[in-house]
């Protein structure tokens, strides 16, 4: 009886949220992911909840090791996020978050592409409300752009699924073998949600505009469900190695340029998802384990980082590094938790990033992919630079800006404490995580070589940060990303279209309406006369009329036609002539 889709608990629970008042509401939303977690732990391996849809056999619940890992972390993170939002009474945010997390569970437990697509779209819509709930003009605009990009991504996915079904006749979602339009479009749909460049700007555009808790929740699900779909559908697709490497470096460069603390974290999501995408592209048991383990740990430390940034935003109301600094004095706990998150994302030995990311890098070593390995190591050093040091340094240390907000509330601190504990626990003792991975883990992260090498990489990265600090001075700027094409480019397109199309319109009016039509009107007025002239002239010439006589005949004809005094017989004769002409022509054709 416990074999029911975990998505149902959260989605049905969302409908009940308005029924609860004050603290009961918060207790209720915290209990829902706990219940879902318990349910997931009781699920039996296999497929169930089959139903028929337009002649296809769909599966709402497919339980295997891959879906279970994502199910566990999605519910653990939701629990922490709702604990963090324990002070929040906003029904919109709670309901949107429950739908969002619920539908992401729907995606990972779907056994077919149609059910997956359905939950995929629910995710896109519900997550938009977490941005709109900020209720600022900037958030409305960002939310609109966010949903438009996701509608585009959803359409690519839908088109791919339609192609795929028509080619294979199957709706089941397994590893894709064929490389064709169908699988290509599905991959594009997944990569848009994974925030792969050039379709990545939606993330850094929208997430920083979300509410404080919205940012925490958003950071986990869209990109990680995309990682899940890639692991399931595209293991070993070499193109993903290239895409992933690009993402790791792209994320670092933009995060280094960024001034807004939550935008730095947004870019670092792209960087981290890049590691996971590389792992999928390598496609070995080691690297796929790595991608899943890294997604698991990343969700925890990234939520922790967004929580600490959210606590700062909630207390200070500012988000730009140029306006922040010196907060360690009055927000020491938020700082400590933020630093733990920062060390974890940097794969510092003793934290969860160290025990998960190493699996992906080991995967590259085992496959002798030297340049991939080198890019991942460079990116690892770069992570420490932008997320490991830059974020905590400019927010909590650097120049004291005289901000004295005081520590954030207890529920936020408890949630951050819980996630910090998980970061260190999985960093010191990763076996529980390794045990739930789909393939057996024989890897040992803690060897003297590995720890020493990682410390060397990170400490020298830190040294460079402080040596180059003058170059990293924050400026009141933003960086142009690919969203330029639909933000500025859209306006430019409008203006160009306005000039070109309206210009053509104006010309056409001058040439056709005023010029050609007027000319035709004028010509049409004396058309009967001219036609009669053409017909009669040869006759007059044949009769031997010349000179003055011809001119007189012409004048009489003009006056007769102008006054409508032509004999009826002539009209009939002309009509007969036309009919004759018509028959001759139609006979020829």
């Amino acid at each position: 009886m416990t074999n029911i889709p975990p998505a149902a608990i959260l989605i049905l629970g969302a409908f009940l949220v308005p029924c609860f008042k004050s603290k009961f509401k918060n207790v209720f939303v915290v209990l829902l992911p706990l219940a879902a977690f318990f349910l997931i732990s009781q699920l039996e391996i296999g497929a169930s909840w089959h139903y028929h849809f337009f002649g296809y056999n769909l599966t709402l619940l497919r339980v295997d090791k891959i879906s279970l890992v994502f199910g566990y972390i999605f519910t653990i993170n939701a629990f922490a996020a709702f604990l963090y939002a324990f002070h929040l009474k906003d029904n919109t945010q709670h309901i949107a978050a429950l739908f969002y997390v619920g539908s992401s569970l729907g995606v990972v437990f779907s056994g077919d592409l149609v059910s997956l697509y359905f939950f995929w779209e629910v995710m896109a819509v519900s997550s938009t409300f977490l941005i709109l709930a900020r209720r600022t003009q900037k958030a409305y605009n960002a939310g609109l752009r966010y949903i438009l990009v996701h509608i585009f991504g959803g359409l690519c996915l839908l088109a791919g699924i339609v192609f795929y079904i028509s080619q294979t006749g199957s709706v089941s979602f397994e590893a894709m073998a064929e490389r064709n339009w169908g699988t290509g479009l599905i991959l594009l749909g997944f990569l848009i949600n994974a925030a792969a460049p050039p379709f990545s700007a939606w993330l850094s555009d929208a997430y920083p505009e979300a509410t404080v808790t919205g940012g925490v929740i958003l950071s986990a699900y869209t990109t990680k469900t995309a990682v899940y779909t890639l692991v399931r559908g595209y293991p070993g697709w070499e193109v993903l190695i290239l895409v992933g490497c690009l993402m790791t470096i792209y994320g670092i460069i933009y995060a280094l340029l960024e001034n807004d603390m939550r935008r730095i974290l947004a870019y670092s999501i792209i960087n981290q998802v890049g590691f996971m995408v590389v792992g999928v592209g390598i496609g070995t048991m080691m690297s796929l384990n790595g991608s899943i383990a890294h997604a698991f740990c990343h969700i925890i430390y990234k939520a922790l980082l967004w929580m600490s940034a959210g606590a700062v935003l909630a207390m200070v109301g500012k988000s730009k590094c140029t306006e922040l600094g010196g907060l360690y004095k009055t927000m020491p706990w938020t700082m400590v938790f933020g630093v733990i998150g920062a060390l974890s994302i940097s794969s510092f030995p003793g934290t969860s990033g160290f025990t998960s990311k190493s699996l992906i890098i080991q995967g590259a070593i085992q496959q002798h992919l030297a340049w991939v390995w080198l890019v991942l190591e460079i990116a690892s050093a770069g992570v420490f630079l932008h997320a490991g040091i830059k974020f905590p340094y400019f927010v909590f240390f650097a120049k004291d800006k005289g901000l004295r907000p005081g520590e954030t509330n207890k529920s936020m601190l408890t949630a951050m404490g819980f996630l910090s504990f998980l970061c260190i626990f999985l960093g010191v003792y990763p076996q529980p995580l390794y045990q739930i991975l789909p393939f057996e883990v024989t890897y040992q992260a803690y060897t003297v070589h590995h720890v020493v090498n990682q410390l060397q990489l990170l400490m020298f990265s830190g040294l460079v940060f402080f040596l180059f600090l003058p170059l990293l001075k924050r400026t009141e700027t933003i960086s142009i990303d690919t969203d330029w094409f639909y933000r500025r480019g859209g306006r430019l397109f409008y203006r160009i279209s306005d000039r070109v199309l309206n210009g053509v319109n104006e010309r056409a009016e001058q040439v056709f309406s005023l010029g050609l039509a007027g000319w035709l009107g004028r010509r049409s007025r004396d058309l009967p006369f001219r036609l009669a002239q053409v017909l009669l002239y040869p006759c007059w010439l044949a009769r031997g009329l010349r000179g003055e006589e011809l001119r007189e005949k012409n004048l009489v004809l003009q006056q007769t036609l102008a006054s409508g005094a032509a004999p009826v017989g002539i009209g009939a004769a002309v009509a007969t002539a036309f009919l004759l002409l018509f028959f001759i022509l139609s006979g020829l054709v």
């Binding site: 070589h449 020298f460 940060f465 960086s479 142009i480």
Partner: protein, 83 residues
Amino acid sequence: MKDSKTEINFFDRAENIKKLWIALCGVCIALVVVDFFVPPKAHFGFDGFIGFYSLLGFVSCAALILLSKLVGFFLKVPGDYYD
């Protein structure tokens, strides 16, 4: 709000920053020295020399910062660019 007299101000004091610099440089030197006792393992042939990871960390981060500076020259716009 905390009383400014009891406020932690460790990072405001120049002598502490100096100590932190010494500590950071000391750790970096110590980590390079460790390589003499535990030489790095070569996975690909080019990565087995002493100080490889230290050099990789230093050079790649310096390159990333300079690259971002260069890219920023073209991509950075005022904060109200889209408003």
